[in-house]
Amino acid sequence: MRKITLDDIEDLAAGAVVLGTGGGGDPYVAKLMLQQAIERYGPVPVVDAADLDPDGLILPVAMVGAPTVAVEKFLNGSEATRVLDAMQERVGKPAVAVMPFEVGGMNTLYPVAVAAELGLPVVDADSMRRAFPAIEMTVFTLAGIPASPMTLSDVKGNYVLCETIDNDMAEKLIRACTAQMGMISVMVGYSLTARQCAESAINGSLSYCLEIGRRVRAIGAGDAGAYEAFLEFCAAQILFTGKVVDIERRTVEGWARGTVTLEHLDDPTRVMRVEIQNENLIAFEDGEPKVTVPDLITLIDVETGMAMTTEGLAYGQRLHLIAMPAHERWRTPEGIALAGPRKFGYDIDYLPLVVAR
């Protein structure tokens, strides 16, 4: 059986920042939680949903809240036990595994730490294959799987059971509760059977994230051909190579928005502008959209290949803007309606990234 060990943590984190597309939070704190959990409880088994009892209960788990708060006040480690217990009681059967909602940012590593603490395997799957800012933006929503019931806990021991009529409302209630919980909480929702998971989740996401991280770290290690190998594995293309010349950050209704502007290294008349709402959403070259959400836009360091979180951007950095096609289920009319540019308030149509080959 495959296991996630201490040696995998850096790779998993490096991959999580690539798939985080600028958002999802710096995985540093989650990395240490996972390190301590593996040191305490041992390596974490990774399983395919198809190999589990088809009626077995799988619980997707995530941290919710502001990454800026998470660097200051983080979890005590018992929150997951509380929300999982509450959910198992609500559903009426024990869980056979946990899984990540998203393989982007800190929520890639946190569920693995939870699995270690609970002695459960983690399912090699997620519901986004990238980071998205809202709870309803999952392939489970596309498959008609309700987020409800959801359980939520804070670090002090308060917990909430949410029953909602749709997934949009789940997002609103969880967000409001989390604000009252000191901006950090742990959530379980979209509980599903292994059969549903095998059919509806994006399977293989954890392994995919880990492999991306390995290839990114090979670039940093100076391996010959590592950049090409990384791009090929991700089906990614470098759309622009430039220097950060401007970063504008602003808060709109509590959401961190911003614009980062890159000037081309070889041709300074070419300018690329990336619109950010937690994640990188749209890249415009000279005012024309070149890539749009749900396709992935990630900024990576020209030399080390390390991906940048929005918080880590700074003037003068020399970055490649890489674009990767979103998972095929996001590139359907339903997927675009749920997580395309218009969902984020842009008056722009989705522009499917043309994939070579």
């Binding site: 800026t68 660097v71 979890l75 901006m183 220097k243």
Partner: protein, 517 residues
């Protein structure tokens, strides 16, 4: 009139000292190799410069030193620390020192506890401070530790619990045991602030040794000068603060060098290139200060939230070795401090960039005729073209915008840099560029900073920013700055993502010249 200032900078290779007068004229300077016992080199450099000036006129002595970072890297002279975190029930998932290199943690870790206390982002308590647990922690530390580090969640915004816990520890163990409080040494980021507090506590003896050692050296000259150490942001800590907060002096070397370059050139916005024997660092001056790196800095393998100058380093210096077979290549290996023995122009047998520079007419030292047989004109031309290309690329890489900036060249290998560089308005050299770092220490100013979370819902954004600026200004005055000359040098605003409520983290720094009393 105590109007002269002495600046000293201890680097990896050399210890430099300068004396400057009130209008910034360099009256004396000296460069000497850094010694294994760092204070020996400081004494030697001091002796040379003080012999050239009226010692009665010296009012201030500013020191930038690698002592603390060396202590951490070599794990020498470090104290054992009792670590208390005020956070429970939050943060129990990551123990203090989890991310530290094992050997350093073993050297430093005394007793550790996470107890009830700390604050939410909005200033309310996570839980009340568990005073009984603080007393038990203190008793458990009795006789087992040399210093204590106390860090509470969100303490930069609300230090009450840290202050109260510090008082209880002092009541229990006596006021002589050094106690570091997190909000005194770090900004937001609990683990990074806790790491800084623990490193600071571990440096208790080192900080004391530097200050008392320097004072003893000065006593020989019956100098009644005020003693300061320079911080990584290019501003000053007075002696008492340096003993309490030695961690803040970490990494002041590159900053001093860039501040010195700014001072010598009279420029506040420029590229600074420091060419040494083995490597070249390039940084950017913005409003007279080095632009800071966006990344957290690791010290001896420990992550902190200090910002260092944003430098790009490459393996090119005056001692870089030129290879001619199998194909032409330069560095990154260097003859380093053996330049005057091994370079061809000094009678040695190793072709270096200094040899090529002498043959190309850029450098005027040594005997270029010794180098001609090893380095034919075509080779010299190829090597200098390589240097010019690296210099141009480096100058361009560090720039934030396409505007053409001047380039200030400092350091012993400055002769390598050509007089014209593409996209650079002019290349500036100064006769004292070799001791720019000590000059940077001598002209350093006092500062105050604030780093905390504000909620714009309760008062307006403008009012919050004004409050942060006032607090930073007050802190600068407390540090000795002239209130009439204080300016705000940094305002960074980071909105909190993913959550409503309009919260932002504000980081503000105020700086001003020392008040002459």
């Amino acid at each position: 009139m105590n109007s002269l200032r002495v600046g000293i900078d201890v680097g990896g290779t050399n210890t430099d000292a300068v004396v400057v007068d009130p209008v910034g004229e360099v009256l004396a300077w000296h460069k000497t190799p850094t010694t294994p016992e760092v204070l020996d080199g400081i004494s030697a450099a001091l002796a040379m410069v003080l012999a050239k000036v009226d010692t009665d006129a010296v009012g201030q002595v500013m020191l930038g030193t690698t002592h603390p970072v060396n202590a951490i890297i070599r794990r020498k002279g470090l104290g054992r620390v009792g670590v208390l975190r005020l956070a429970a029930p939050a943060t129990l998932s990551i123990s203090p020192l989890t991310s530290w290199p094992q050997d350093l943690a073993t050297t430093v870790k005394g007793h550790t506890e996470i107890i009830g206390g700390g604050h939410e982002y909005d200033g309310t308590e996570i839980s009340p401070l568990d005073e009984t647990a603080v007393r038990e922690f203190a008793r458990a530390c009795h006789g087992r530790v040399d210093a204590i580090a106390i860090t509470g969640v969100t303490s930069p915004a609300n230090p009450d619990h840290e202050l109260r816990a510090g008082t209880i520890v002092a009541e229990t163990l006596g006021a002589t045991l050094p106690v570091t409080l997190g909000h005194q040494v770090g900004g937001l980021g609990l683990l990074e602030r806790e790491n800084s507090a623990v490193l600071n506590a571990a440096l208790t003896f080192v900080g004391n040794d530097i200050v008392t050692g320097l004072r003893r050296s000065l006593d020989k000259y019956e100098l009644q000068a005020d003693v300061y150490l320079t911080q990584n942001d290019g501003t000053l800590l007075d002696a008492a603060e340096a003993i309490r907060r030695p961690i803040l002096t970490i990494g002041s070397g590159p900053t001093n060098s860039m501040r010195g370059a700014a001072y010598l050139s009279g420029l506040s916005d420029a590229i600074v290139m420091d060419v040494g024997g083995t490597s070249t660092d390039v940084g950017l001056l913005v409003d007279g200060f080095p632009r800071e790196s966006a990344h957290s800095v690791e010290i001896g393998g420990v992550r902190t939230n200090y910002r260092m100058p944003d430098l790009i380093a490459i393996g090119m210096g005056g001692g870089s070795i030129i290879r001619t077979t199998p194909q032409l290549g330069v560095g990154p290996d260097s003859v380093g401090y053996q330049l005057t023995e091994r370079a061809l122009i000094f009678g040695g047998d190793t072709p270096t960039l200094s040899d090529a520079a002498a043959l190309a007419g850029r450098a005027h030292f040594g005997s270029p005729e010794h180098a001609t047989s090893h380095l034919p004109p075509a080779t010299v031309a190829a090597v200098m073209a390589w240097v010019d290309d690296r210099v141009a690329t480096l100058a361009d890489r560090i720039k934030a915008t396409r505007t053409s900036l001047p380039l200030i060249v400092v350091g012993g290998g400055a002769v390598l840099v050509p007089d014209t560089v593409p996209e650079v308005s002019k290349v500036i050299r100064h006769p004292h560029a070799g001791v720019a770092n000590a000059i940077g220490a001598a002209i350093a100013e006092a500062s105050g900073t604030i780093d905390r979370t504000y909620t714009y819902a309760t008062s307006s954004r403008d009012a919050c920013i004004a409050d942060a600026k006032n607090q930073a200004t007050d802190a600068a005055v407390l540090a000795g700055a002239d209130p009439a000359q204080i300016r705000i040098t940094t305002v960074t605003e980071i909105p909190m993502s993913y959550m409503p409520g309009n919260c932002a983290r504000l980081h503000v720094k105020a700086v001003g010249p020392l008040l002459n009393t």
